[in-house]
């Protein structure tokens, strides 16, 4: 098993940025802001199946030109690793780590590129808290990043789209942890913020480093270089659990939609399933809509405008 590099992987909004700043605070590890190098490598190597098993993409195209896929993959890996090695050298640190939140959408291909030459620090977070946080991100950006836009195109209810994205990315992370247990340390966001010292001790032990006393307390107070997606961690000078259980702000109707989507993956990741009432039938939904309008009219009239009890009985 190689210790060339460390990749932080997890669904976007799962605490990957927090992890990157905590890792970067270690004297032996340089973890810059999002470089998107590995996601770009994965997209470069993207394969689209066409007729009769042929895969359309750079590997097939170059194979037909005489370049073996392993050779191409190796060159792409050398390119990505080269940037990371230079970043570590500039930081005067022996090891590099990389975190780009959208990597979770390309994990299969990233695994192909990196092989056994990296260790993975994988993080999972409650899917509905992730969905809430993705909503915040999209509001902040006034739009959808391409990876999320693909889901929103298929589901106009945006939290349904975000929940499905979480299922796919977290599923990929769980699969990685299951298939490469010696190469991967898997943590939960909720455990990280509840006891960051213990969680980071476990992570550092797993990647062959000693925990440094005071690392957690000081990591967020010092700059670790600007990074895309860093905004929330720079707003908080210390690790906090303030973002846990925000999913409980969803209305019962939204939970009814989201629970069936996320519950299987929640349970696979060690969370309790979200309780939710069954979805209303179309007739029930129409009746609820009528009553909602009547209640709004009642509120607008106020106590003085009420009609006498028993009218129209």
């Amino acid at each position: 098993m190689s210790d060339e590099g460390i990749l932080i992987v997890g669904s976007p909004r799962s605490g990957t940025t927090l992890l990157r700043r905590l890792l970067d605070a270690h004297p032996s590890i340089a973890c810059p802001g999002e470089t998107n190098v590995f996601g770009a490598a994965a997209r470069f190597l993207r394969r689209d199946p066409v007729a009769e098993g042929l895969e359309f993409g750079v590997l097939s195209g170059l194979a037909l030109a005489g370049f073996e896929p392993d050779d191409v993959m190796g060159r792409v890996r050398d390119l990505a690793f080269g940037f990371m090695e230079d970043i570590a050298k500039r930081a005067d640190k022996p090891r590099w780590a990389e975190k780009s939140a959208m990597d979770a959408f390309y994990l299969d291909e990233i695994r192909n590129v990196c092989g056994e030459r990296v260790r993975y620090v994988a993080i999972v977070r409650h899917g509905l808290d992730v969905a809430k946080s993705v909503g915040d991100l999209c509001d902040r950006n006034d739009g959808y990043l391409p990876e999320f836009h693909e889901y929103v195109r298929r589901d106009s209810h945006r939290f349904v789209a975000f929940a499905k994205a979480w299922v796919d990315t977290t599923g990929a992370v769980l699969e990685l942890a299951k298939e490469r247990p010696d190469q991967t340390v898997l943590v939960r966001y909720e455990d990280l913020v509840a006891d960051p010292v213990a969680t980071m001790q476990r992570i550092f032990t797993s990647i062959g480093e000693e925990y440094v006393d005071g690392l957690v307390e000081t990591a967020l107070t010092k700059s670790s270089g600007a990074g895309l997606g860093d905004w929330k961690t720079y707003e908080r000078p210390k690790v906090t659990s303030a973002s846990i259980d925000r999913w409980k702000e969803f209305t019962p109707a939204t939970l009814s939609l989201l629970a069936p989507i996320v519950n299987p993956t929640l349970e696979a990741a060690g969370y309790d399933p979200v309780p939710a009432r069954p979805l209303p039938t179309p007739e029930q939904a129409r009746r609820r809509f009528e009553l909602d309008l009547a209640i709004r009219a009642m509120r607008a009239r106020g106590p003085s405008g009420d009609e006498a009890a028993g009218d129209d009985a």
């Binding site: 019962p252 009553l291 009547a294 509120r299 009420d306 028993g310 009218d311």
Partner: protein, 80 residues
Amino acid sequence: MALTADGIREYLAAELGVDTAGVENDTALFSSNVLDSFSMVDLIVYVETAGGFRMKPSQVNLDNLDSIDRMLAFAAKQAS
């Protein structure tokens, strides 16, 4: 299913998460903001189902719905 004071109180606690310890039969539920709009819809659906009637929009008012007593009185008028 018949509409009863105990049934309404149990629904408030079990389905709407209302602490019914201080809820008397004449406690104002809607006008005192004990219930949000979503919960109001839920409660009216329950009252209609248990009482076996369907309210007209003009009947959705505080006089008919703002307390357990008022709901029972309205249900009794529907039945008679």
